[in-house]
Symmetry: C2
DNA sequence: GCCACTATTCAGTGTTGCTATCTACCGGTA
DNA sequence: TACCGGTAGATAGCAACACTGAATAGTGGC
């Protein structure tokens, strides 16, 4: 992946994952796979797991262990109320930034 | 500034500054002031100067010392060809990311 | 002489994503 | 049995980046 993308994901990947969890609960391996499908071709698995640990420790998600038919048990994460608030804040921050950057982009042409 | 904004600026602030320089050459103090005007209320001065050093070392900008009427000499930065390429790459990366995040945002409602 | 404004620099810190590797469970195949 | 591929999660060490806080330096006005 490009270096620019790596840096840009800092601060946004967290919001992306929270937004995925807002749609419906999911587990790490599944989230990684979905990200890959959506074009984030090589987001490292380790990155996602580390992120999930962080947001769990901050109390933004609830966790439930669910046995899998194939492989070790899954840790299914679901967004809780606090996570919802945090995600809202994320959207506000994102909108602010995106607006200004788009302005710069248009001003350039 | 919010913590989310701090993290989100990683990787994007560089592009923002390059885009500002693409419009016209500028020096550090001026760039900081312009960012503040545009609502990035407290981007630290130190942050901007450090960023300028980085992009200079990477050869994305040309530098010219210009005496100031009030204060020490200014270091005026201007985007060069390599910086222009890098900025283009930034826009591609940004567009890709912004598109996907907007999709998530809409899917949520 | 002192202060405010302009202008730049730098050491130290915290957060983040990546690399690389390890553990573990299951089914199929040689 | 032994091995491999797919599923699932964890972790130590690293590099990049923005912030904090302070220092330095030049100019003009009181």
């Amino acid at each position: 992946m490009g270096k620019q993308m790596t840096e840009m994901l800092k601060g946004t990947l967290e919001g992306i994952v929270l937004a995925i969890l807002a749609a419906r609960p999911a587990y790490g391996y599944e989230i990684t796979a979905r990200l890959r499908e959506q074009g984030f071709s090589d987001i490292a698995e380790g990155t996602v797991y580390a992120l999930l640990v962080r947001i769990e420790q901050r109390g933004l998600v609830d966790v439930q262990k669910v046995p899998s038919e194939k492989g070790p048990p899954r840790k299914v994460y679901s967004l809780n109320a606090q996570g919802g608030d945090y995600l809202e804040e994320f959207w506000r921050t994102w909108s602010f930034l995106a607006e200004r950057i788009e302005q710069l982009h248009e001003g350039e042409r």
